[in-house]
Symmetry: C2
Subunit: 405 residues, 2 copies
């Protein structure tokens, strides 16, 4: 009897140890035991570097710490508990900053970096589930603006290939700086989020176009920025060139391409744009310059820093945002949704900049949605949540999706 009790106790202990234990991350390449993640959000990183003198781990929005050399030639480090979501990191080996060979590569920071996924407990809106699935399609289009072939992804909803007479509204959705058009698919899980929302009847079936936000005019070359800071006139001028090339490509080439190659409803009532960080800035530039083309606008962690404006000066709604917010009543009739969001744990300047814009919009009586993602940083978990809140609000206006059925 005593033995049975002991066995039960031991079994419970083992089960408990398993439940709180470290397991290989879903972002690992097949067969890789590390990185491991536990239920508290701690991450164990391990890399083999038997002859290295110093190895450190570099989470871009997390710990940057030395790893410890073990006797078997491996180096180890365990993070404190981290927020759920996808975290970019690299590893420094004797001064070389590289990605972790145990992780799949994700394009960020201008390179194929490593990421570790920490599951969010009780949440499955970005998981692949047993619901009808849309497709992600890769397209190539030739741009007279950038002078090259450009690669983009298009999400088509589950019924796109069966309801052949139906036409669909379109969301143009942009990644952040240092990322590319793969971000919303691989990091953002845009297809699973939309599949799940559509299956639950929460979002209208829509196309989502994800372009490469890194554009520059044909023949133009980025000047040497050696020694020039982000705030320098040269850098700002170069950014302006690139932002303009992106805007021109989207408006003059990409939108006509999508409207001629997919079954879209090609009018402003059925066209939205959103983006994260740099993509949010692009969204505000493109949409406020082309309200004839868009009627839904979303800025995810990135609308504050419009190129060329002094962040310390209050906004002047007569001129800022192309003057479109000067008359809020007219704006509200024209634009069905203005949505801005930010994570509570983002860097103070980013968080406060967007919170401040929210306050100014309130004061100006501009109808809008403001969303704060609790406990998340300038990272993909914030933007997955943003999309999950933003997408259901699209194309719900009276006229939308009725003429097209």
């Amino acid at each position: 009897m005593k033995n049975l009790a002991l066995m039960l106790f031991l079994a419970a202990t083992v089960a408990c140890a398993q439940d709180t234990g470290f397991r290989p991350a879903s972002t690992n390449v097949p067969g890789a035991d590390f990185p491991k993640v536990d239920l508290t959000g701690r991450v164990e990183i391990r890399i083999k570097a038997p002859e290295a003198n110093k190895v450190s781990v570099n989470f871009w929005s997390g710990p940057k710490e030395d790893m410890t050399k073990m006797t078997d030639g491996y180096w180890m480090y365990t993070t404190p508990p981290m927020a759920p979501g996808l975290h970019y990191y690299t590893i420094k080996i004797d001064g070389a900053e590289v990605s972790d060979p145990s992780s799949y590569a994700y394009y960020g920071g201008g390179k194929d970096a490593s990421m570790v996924e920490i599951p969010e407990s009780g949440v499955d809106y970005y998981d692949v589930k047993n619901v009808p699935h849309g497709e992600i399609r890769e397209i190539w289009y030739n741009s007279k603006i950038t002078g090259d072939w450009r690669h983009a992804f298009v999400y088509t909803p589950p019924d796109y290939d069966t309801r052949m007479k139906k036409r669909y509204p379109v969301l143009y959705l942009q990644h952040g700086g240092g990322e590319d058009e793969t971000g919303w698919v691989r990091q953002g899980r845009v297809n699973f989020i939309l599949d799940n929302l559509i299956a639950a009847g929460k979002a209208k079936p829509m196309l989502i176009v994800m372009a490469n936000g890194n554009a520059q005019p044909a023949g133009w070359k980025m000047p040497d920025m050696n020694g020039k800071g982000f705030g320098s006139p040269e850098f700002q001028e170069a950014m302006r060139h690139r932002m303009q090339a992106f805007e021109d490509d989207e408006v003059q080439v990409l939108i006509p391409y999508i409207d001629s190659h997919f079954r879209t409803v090609a009018d402003r009532d059925h066209r939205a744009m959103a983006g994260l960080s740099m993509g949010g800035m692009q969204t505000f530039q493109v949409t406020f310059n082309h309200l004839d083309l868009f009627s839904y606008i979303g800025g995810f962690s990135g609308v504050g820093g419009m190129i060329g404006r002094d962040p310390n000066q209050p906004r002047d709604f007569k001129t800022d945002f192309n003057g479109q917010l000067a008359d809020p009543a007219t704006f509200a009739k024209k634009v069905h949704l203005l949505w801005i969001g930010v994570g509570t744990d983002e860097p103070k300047m980013m968080h406060d900049g967007i919170a401040k814009l929210h306050g100014e919009l309130e004061q100006q009586k501009v109808t809008h949605i403001y969303y704060e993602s609790p406990g998340t940083n300038h990272e993909w978990q914030t933007w997955r949540r943003d999309l999950n809140d933003f997408a259901p609000r699209l194309f719900q206006a009276g006229t939308v999706n009725t003429a097209s059925r």
Copy 2:
């Protein structure tokens, strides 16, 4: 006059120097100056590792050499001239084998490795050109065989979305060992090869399905192979399990999924399968077990090593290949194409194994195509050439593509 001549001479020298000079590889991430490639196929590799003691480069089918430390903290190495095509490589930094942060990552060797593309002079069949483009579509399907969600790519030809009544033949196309379903798209450039062939009228418009060849039965776990070699009975048994899971998934789940979600002609006359290396072995296993489903068969650098047979014994056509080659006349009536190929510079065992199979097929009077890719190794340039030769031979039989128009 003398000065003018000198200037012209200098200008010619400069132009000449530019023409033979090193340029950033197309496989680099945007903005990365290295790796650089010159017209002779030499590659300059550079990586920053200021505090490392030893850095070496490891081309999987090329040089494995120490790099040289420069005064600025960078390490450099220049290869001898290498064959055109895509070359996998990694970098070793004080014992840590990692990928090069300057290169895009490509999945190979069971991880996201680096690659450098050496252009093939005078050849553009795998380039993006100004022709109608098909799409690459990502699909997810739930497999009762493997017990999980599986990811696959489908190439749809340029007219797929405009000729809504047309049905298409299908090629199932597999990657190699250590690779995954991304290989034929990213390394192989399958879409550009097919777009170009179709635009030139050389290949029939077709769907191409690229599945993940790494499968295992639901609930089955790979046994610990510590100390067990590739030839051990345990390893062979595990391979058999995985090959069977792949075959069952393709035949019982994937093909029905494709035939119910795409406009296919769902019969053996309009279904082909091919694969490279491990994918070639999978192709021969699946097709020769299911000639009721397939009538075109391609093995790219990988048909010789059928699981479980002794490579030193001559084939017995009564039993090998499921006995289907015992009667070549019957086989020729049933199978429209049997195609095998290998690169002349592949490892001797691989090259000679496939050349030997070619000889045995000749002797047995089995109608087939044998193709040798000149000067290329067990690498993607061989397989791009294979596909470029193989695809135009598909679905050209009398009945094909007529009933379906």
